[in-house]
């Protein structure tokens, strides 16, 4: 049996490896597209010259460096983070609907930002970053503690229920603040939708180390997720410490989703949809699902952002709106086409 299976496995691994290469090339292509597409028409050769020999006095070069480059970088990082966070959360909680929104991470970040604007009077994106981070961490901690109450500890179903309950509580507090403080609503309106516009290089640099750390941590728990996916008893029988695995995975997800939300606001559907597509291609192993999700999500996010940039000239449509618009029907199609692989 094993002698027959081995070559098959090797062929499959080679095919999946090639797939990763193709995705990397696609990501590269969409990055180029993102650098060359925008409200202002800039010829390709000007973009190229701006990148290799920047002239800080040339208007076009400044637009490439000051607007499109940070926007593209933030888009890639947020995409990577959301895709990975979604996949890790789905694996760790064994819940196909787990994503940063359902586990309270988005609402926690949003509540802290709204409080920062309403109470501290903050108005600039760069000030939101740390608040969003703290809020995401705090919300995840509360959700995890609530889910851990009782004898069985934080089971997948309890995590999902606790997440939904905490999200509802946080959302009602956010609504209460926004309804009584129109000024706050006015300030956070654009942040709340989720957008890559207006993000400076500072924001990219602020979240970069966190996303890098989150990626390393997430990829290192892939094996643990594979163990968990066989059920807790099997994982335990294999000598895995289930609680620790979940905690590490949860930490990775909070760091990634927190950083993504901090940089771009709460963006829906990317973290939920992409891992399912990845799973449909790779099969159940998280050692493949994680890198696939990580490469596919920024392609989706940047693609959606590029569509948003050109769809409504001379203005723009926020990427959060486009991903929700693209994500929902896509997700429905996926559900209809095949039974989602059980986790």
């Amino acid at each position: 049996m094993s002698q027959e299976a081995a070559p098959h496995h090797r062929r499959r691994a080679a095919a999946l490896g090639l797939g990763l290469l193709a995705l990397s090339l696609a990501l590269l292509a969409i990055i180029v597209l993102s650098m060359t597409t925008g409200a202002r028409a800039i010829p390709l050769d000007t973009v190229w010259r701006a990148l290799i020999a920047a002239d800080p006095t040339a208007t076009e070069h400044r637009i490439i460096w000051d607007l499109r480059l940070p926007r593209t970088l933030v888009g890639v990082m947020v995409g990577l983070a959301l895709g990975l966070a979604g996949a890790v959360l789905q694996g760790a909680t064994r819940n196909p609907l787990a994503d940063p929104a359902i586990l309270g991470i988005h609402s926690g970040a949003a509540l802290f930002v709204v409080l920062g604007v309403a109470v501290l009077g903050l108005t600039q994106l760069s000030q939101y970053v740390w608040l969003a981070f703290a809020g995401a961490g705090a919300a995840m901690l509360v959700v995890y503690s609530v889910a851990s109450l009782g004898r069985e500890g934080a089971t997948p179903i309890k995590l999902a229920l606790a997440g939904a309950a905490i999200t509802a509580v946080l959302q009602s507090i956010i609504s209460a603040i926004l309804l009584t403080s129109p000024r706050t609503l006015d300030e956070v309106r654009f942040w709340q939708v989720g957008s890559l516009a207006g993000r400076s290089m500072d924001i990219a640099l602020q979240v970069c180390p966190f996303i890098a750390a989150g990626i390393v941590l997430a990829l290192s728990v892939a094996r643990l997720l594979d163990g968990l996916s066989m059920g807790e008893d099997v994982a335990r029988a294999l000598g895995q410490r289930v609680g620790l695995s979940r905690a590490l995975a949860g930490l990775a997800a909070v760091i990634l989703a927190g950083a993504a939300t901090a940089a771009a606001g709460p963006i829906a559907f990317v973290g939920l949809t992409v891992p399912h597509v990845a799973r449909a291609i790779t099969g159940p192993s998280y050692r493949w699902i994680l890198p696939y999700s990580m490469l596919m999500a920024p392609i989706l996010l940047l693609g959606a952002d590029i569509i948003g940039r050109v769809i409504a000239p001379p203005g723009e449509v926020q990427v959060g709106i486009v991903t929700a618009f693209l994500g929902a029907p896509f997700f429905i199609a996926l559900v209809r086409r095949r039974k989602l692989a059980a986790l």
Binding site: D66, T123, P182, F190, A197, S200, G315, E316
Partner: protein
């Protein structure tokens, strides 16, 4: 029973006696083309934030004000004495109707915006307040000066004494400020000016015709750049921040209704694609909120200073 009737009769006769002493009926034709007629001059007035800004300096004090946002941020009410006035709304489209009813208003004074076909605060507020008292007010037009004159006529009909020394002093200060402004504009005939609002999503360039004070500035000799295309309602042209340098003025004036607008502008890397922004030739635009000579004089003085300091040869 009998005694109660008697009391009623006595009260009625008392009223009848008082009636000839009461003031004459009060009639006012408003901007929406409606005429409001009351039996006597209204005493208890609820005013929109902008109407209050027009009336208070003329000596007419409303009993209640509803504002478009937090009262502390309302530019139009800055420096005005609001003591004893109940604030019954602090968000656009919202008014505390119980507080409003408790004030027992005789009249609601708002402003009519013909471009939007709406009263201050929007239709919801208009309908809610119309149950308490008739709504009337002046109309937004092509000049802040005519707006102020309309307020003077309205205030006079409500019993204001326009010969009060403070009113005369405000007016004198304004005409001095206006002369200085015209002289400064005339001294730099090539100076071009762009009026903008800055958001995190885009830069909004104002159409001159959409704002009465911009029309005034233009008529007083300031060379305002008019955007090529304005949106459906005629107020703005929306520019992606990638196209922030579509216009190159010598002086930028930024909508100062909210202090965060200029911060938002400065945080955009391409804000300084406009040479005027890079050179710091940026001033306040008192956008949509001027309603009296006192505020207008202060705003004009600030602009005059900015015009005098600006290098008119910045833009090609």
């Amino acid at each position: 029973m009998l005694s109660r009737r008697l009391t009623a009769l006595l009260a009625l006769s008392g009223l009848a006696l008082a009636a000839p002493v009461a003031a004459e009926p009060w009639i006012y034709s408003d901007g929406a083309g409606q005429t409001v007629a009351l039996d006597e001059v209204p005493q208890r007035i609820i005013a929109s934030q902008d109407a209050a800004a027009g009336l208070i300096p003329l000596g007419i004090r409303p009993v209640g004000i509803y504002a478009d946002g937090p009262i502390a941020d309302a530019k139009a009410l800055q420096g005005l004495d609001l003591s004893g006035i109940e604030i019954i709304g602090q968000a656009w489209g919202e008014v505390d109707i119980e507080k409003a009813a408790a004030l027992e208003p005789d009249l609601v004074i708002a402003e009519y915006w013909p471009l939007d076909k709406a009263w201050s605060g929007g239709e919801k507020v208009e309908v809610a307040l119309s149950y308490l008292a008739p709504i009337t007010g002046v109309t937004q037009g092509a000049s802040i000066l005519t707006l102020i004159e309309d307020y003077e006529a309205l205030a006079q009909s409500l019993g204001a004494d326009l010969s009060a020394p403070q009113i005369a002093a405000d007016k004198a200060e304004f005409s001095a400020a206006l002369d200085a402004f015209k002289a400064a504009a005339a001294a730099k005939p090539d100076l071009t000016v762009l009026a903008v609002w800055a958001g995190a999503d885009a830069l909004y360039v104002a159409a001159t015709a959409g704002s009465a004070e911009l029309v005034d500035f233009k008529s007083w000799g300031l060379k305002l750049i008019d955007p090529e295309i304005a949106d459906d309602r005629g107020y703005w042209e929306t520019l992606s921040w990638e196209n922030a340098d579509k216009y190159q003025p010598d002086l930028i004036i930024v909508d100062n209704r909210s202090p965060t607008t200029i911060e938002t502008a400065r945080s955009q890397p391409t804000w300084t694609l406009m040479k005027a922004a890079a050179a710091g030739q940026v001033a306040d635009w008192p956008a949509f909120w001027l309603r009296n000579y006192r505020h207008y004089a202060l705003a004009l003085n600030d602009l005059t200073t900015a015009i005098k300091a600006a290098d008119a040869g910045l833009a090609p």
